[in-house]
């Protein structure tokens, strides 16, 4: 039985292995499972950008792109299977879109010499490239997000948060726990009082947390949620008539899926972002023409311009730019994962570059270096307009409080280096 199955698996793989293409990108996506509503737009955006490059430019630097999707359903075990199966096809970079899978890939991918781009998620201290040689989390990470949220609250409150009460509603997992450290540190500096309200996976049950919010009346609520948890939290906030403009979600709690179910009640809800939303960019005309018009859009093709679609697109754009950088450094079009890592480490995103790509002002300008794998952490605040059904950017890209964050990153990276036996150095 066992042997028969194994031999059948062998046969299936031998028959089904895709032809080695020139530049292989992998997408560990999740179009099924409890987080599918968020996974689909991201995966579509990621795939569509590469399709566009293939159709319009013939790939990157003349090399066609082969995108392999693998379904993880946000499940760590399936993530392992996906990583191992796509690794064999020579994937250049991994974008797992799951903090759990990222934590797993950090040691594995480093040992295999394949870079991981955990854009705006994963382990925050991966910003320290001397310790995390193959992990990149530019352009912003959770601690940047937490710091910018507090900065925004300072702005709103006239520069003083003393004695204010701030509640953090978070997904009770590695992901949700990430900002706590920073928020506690910032609480010392600004003198606010932090309340922690964990919500267990998947987050459909939040009555007690919101009851506590109704009782304690915190001045502001921050949220680190994902999937159905966001919708439920926003609905609960509407139900207890919490003032929505005092409710700020991290970028993963800021998609259309999260606010639309609450209808008009969600008007004024804020979320953070490190890229722009909407489809008013010249690049989207090309997507319309080469991808959607040609019937090659990923998924149902109905997500174009949504917050998470744009994030997937942005991730693909950064990956493609890193590949271009790698091609320039190594003077070859057919790059390997090791070259891709160099490309990512020398990535320089400027306004001029983004304008040339048809995405002017889409994200912040930043430069990656060996010491800094995380960019500058510039983050903006969006506000939901329920009548117009769109996100409005209400601030510029704000820089986080690096005086507080840098020592925290250094401390956590040092702890990891000690645990994993790494001597920090530039590679």
């Amino acid at each position: 039985m066992k042997l028969k199955l194994i031999s059948a698996v062998v046969a299936a793989i031998v028959a089904g292995a895709p032809a080695m293409a020139d530049l292989t990108f992998s997408a560990l996506s999740y179009r099924t499972g409890p987080y599918a509503a968020n996974g689909i737009p991201f995966a579509d955006g990621y795939a569509d950008y590469f399709t566009l490059l293939n159709e319009r430019d013939g790939g990157i630097g003349g090399e066609k792109i082969n995108l392999i999707e693998c379904e993880t359903a946000y499940n760590t075990e399936k993530g392992v299977e996906c990583y191992e199966s796509t690794k064999g096809s020579g994937a250049l970079v991994y974008q797992p879109l799951s903090t759990g899978i990222t934590y797993q890939l950090i040691p594995k991918a480093t040992a295999d010499g394949i870079p991981v781009h955990s854009m705006g998620y994963g382990r925050t201290s991966a910003k320290n490239g001397e310790v995390f040689s193959h992990i990149f989390n530019y352009p912003a990470n959770y601690w940047d997000g937490a710091s910018v949220a507090i900065k925004h609250l300072l702005d709103v409150n006239g520069g003083d948060l003393k004695g204010k009460k701030i509640a953090l509603v978070y997904h009770n997992s590695a992901y949700g726990k990430e900002p706590i450290r920073t928020l506690e540190e910032l609480a010392k500096k600004h003198g606010y009082e932090l309340t922690l309200l964990p919500v267990d996976h998947p987050g459909q049950e939040q009555k007690s947390q919101w009851l506590q919010i109704r009782r304690d009346k915190p001045d502001h609520v921050l949220m680190w949620g994902w999937g159905v948890m966001n919708q439920v939290a926003i609905q609960e906030a509407v139900n207890i008539r919490y003032p929505m403009e005092n409710f700020i979600g991290i970028w993963w709690s800021g998609s259309e899926n999260d606010v639309l179910p609450a209808g008009d009640g969600a008007n004024g809800y804020k979320s953070l972002t490190f890229h722009n939303t909407g489809s008013d960019f010249p690049l989207f005309a090309d997507i319309e023409k080469y991808v959607k018009g040609a019937g090659k859009a990923a998924g149902a093709g109905d997500q174009i311009g949504t917050a998470l679609y744009n994030r997937g697109l942005y991730a693909a754009m950064l990956a493609a730019e890193a590949a271009k950088t790698a091609q320039e450094i190594h003077k070859t079009a057919a790059i390997t994962p090791a070259m891709m890592r160099d490309g990512m480490e020398n990535l320089d995103i400027t306004e001029a570059k983004m304008t040339a790509l048809g995405l002017p002002g889409f994200g912040p300008s930043f430069k990656v270096s060996c010491q800094n794998h995380g960019g500058d952490g510039l983050t903006a605040v969006l506000q939901w307009d329920a009548a117009g059904k769109k996100w409005n950017k209400i601030t510029d890209f704000i820089a986080p409080d690096n005086d507080v964050l840098n020592p925290l990153v250094a401390e956590d990276a040092a702890a990891y280096a000690k645990e994993a036996g790494i001597t920090p150095a530039c590679k």
């Binding site: 793989i13 089904g16 179009r31 499940n75 760590t76 934590y103 009770n172 997992s173």
Partner: protein, 358 residues
């Protein structure tokens, strides 16, 4: 023709009482062992080790453990995921506290710790039975997961609450951490799987197993014929949790390498292992393997056929995969309510008479 007792004479009690009395069965067993130990390690690559063989071997251990409790002793448990978590966190604490000790002993110790915890949660089984016991073990599931999420000591105060396995060796070979070779990880798990299966098979054939089965079939009658229900039930909880703890320790240290308790050891894991033994066959060691293979290997196989072979979109393939596996479970359970092991048993009965049935 090959598969029959006729002509296979036993001349001693030892020969008569052996696990596989039929020559062909015995040879098949040795052949499987020879291939598993002598052939696969030389050909195994990262993909087969991490995506196919390790989960299969580790889930088999967990299924054997649960089968002892549910299949042999009749005590329904929904706490498997939590007991695996105990094994995982125990081995993590041991690995980080005593880095120089051989991982082999850490895994065994983690099993021991889980056995202790299992006995603690098994105590209610003396007073409550059936569905009520299932609910009591469900409490263990939620309590232990909550505990590991809540108390920072268990995850060494890391900021994220995740635990990650450092590099550890067995007799100088790396078996945990990212740099371990595929064959080393495979062999490490294989040794545990074979050891556990051997132990379980012989325990269930002996006095202990007969006591368990007596309790399962009718506990009052068992007590009247002299079985001590306290001892038998707690022994079942201890042995079962010991195996499940080993499975949890290997699952974390060798297979996944980084674990978040709520996601990996949640209630879903308890159900998955329970389904394995129900589909495989309650009260059968072979059934534990068959059930683990069915629920671990089949989805991987289907995924490779549908996505890799036929080039379907990944989401469609994932949905169809659910339907196929679900349908097969229904078909198997209708065709043979006693699981794959019973199908196997029936096939063997037929083989004995083949080619001249009555």
């Amino acid at each position: 023709m090959l598969y029959r007792e006729a002509g296979d004479f036993k001349t001693s009690y030892v020969a008569d009482g052996q696990t596989f009395p039929i020559w062909f069965d015995r040879m098949r067993y040795y052949a499987v062992l020879a291939i598993a130990f002598g052939v696969i390690p030389f050909f195994v690559n990262d993909y087969y080790a991490n995506a196919v063989l390790l989960p299969f071997l580790i889930y088999s251990i967990a299924a054997i453990g649960l089968n002892i409790l549910v299949g042999y002793c009749g005590q329904v448990s929904l706490g498997t995921g939590a007991f695996m978590a105990v094994g995982a966190y125990a081995v993590y604490k041991l690995m980080t506290a005593f880095p120089e000790v051989n991982l082999f002993f850490h895994v065994l110790l983690a099993g021991g710790i889980t056995a202790f915890v299992g006995v603690m949660f098994g105590l209610p089984s003396l007073r409550i039975k059936g569905f009520y016991l299932a609910v009591a073990t469900l409490a263990a599931q939620f309590f232990l997961v909550w505990l590991f999420n809540r108390v920072p000591w268990f995850y060494n105060y890391s900021a994220s609450g995740q635990i990650s396995a450092p590099d550890r060796t067995v007799f100088g070979m790396l078996v945990s951490g990212p740099n371990a070779e595929a064959w080393a990880k495979y062999m490490f798990c294989l040794v545990f799987t074979v050891g556990v299966a051997f132990l379980a098979r012989n325990l269930t054939r002996g006095m202990q197993g007969r006591q368990w089965m007596a309790i399962r079939d009718m506990d009052i009658a068992a007590e009247i014929i002299g079985v001590n229900p306290l001892r038998a039930k707690l022994m079942a909880f201890a042995v079962s949790s010991f195996f499940i703890g080993i499975a949890g320790a290997l699952f974390f240290a060798v297979y996944l390498g980084a674990v978040e308790v709520g996601e990996v050891f949640g209630i879903n894991k308890s159900f998955l292992v329970l389904f394995m033994i129900i589909i495989g066959g309650l009260g059968s060691i072979f059934g534990s393997f068959a059930g683990a293979a069915f629920l671990v290997l089949l989805p991987v196989l289907l995924k490779n056929v549908l996505v890799g072979g036929l080039g379907w979109p990944t989401d469609l393939a994932a949905h169809v995969e659910f339907m196929i596996v679900g349908l097969l479970i229904i078909v198997f359970l209708i065709a043979e309510p006693h699981g794959l092991a019973q199908l196997w048993r029936v096939a063997k009965e037929k083989l004995r008479l083949w080619p001249f049935p009555h």
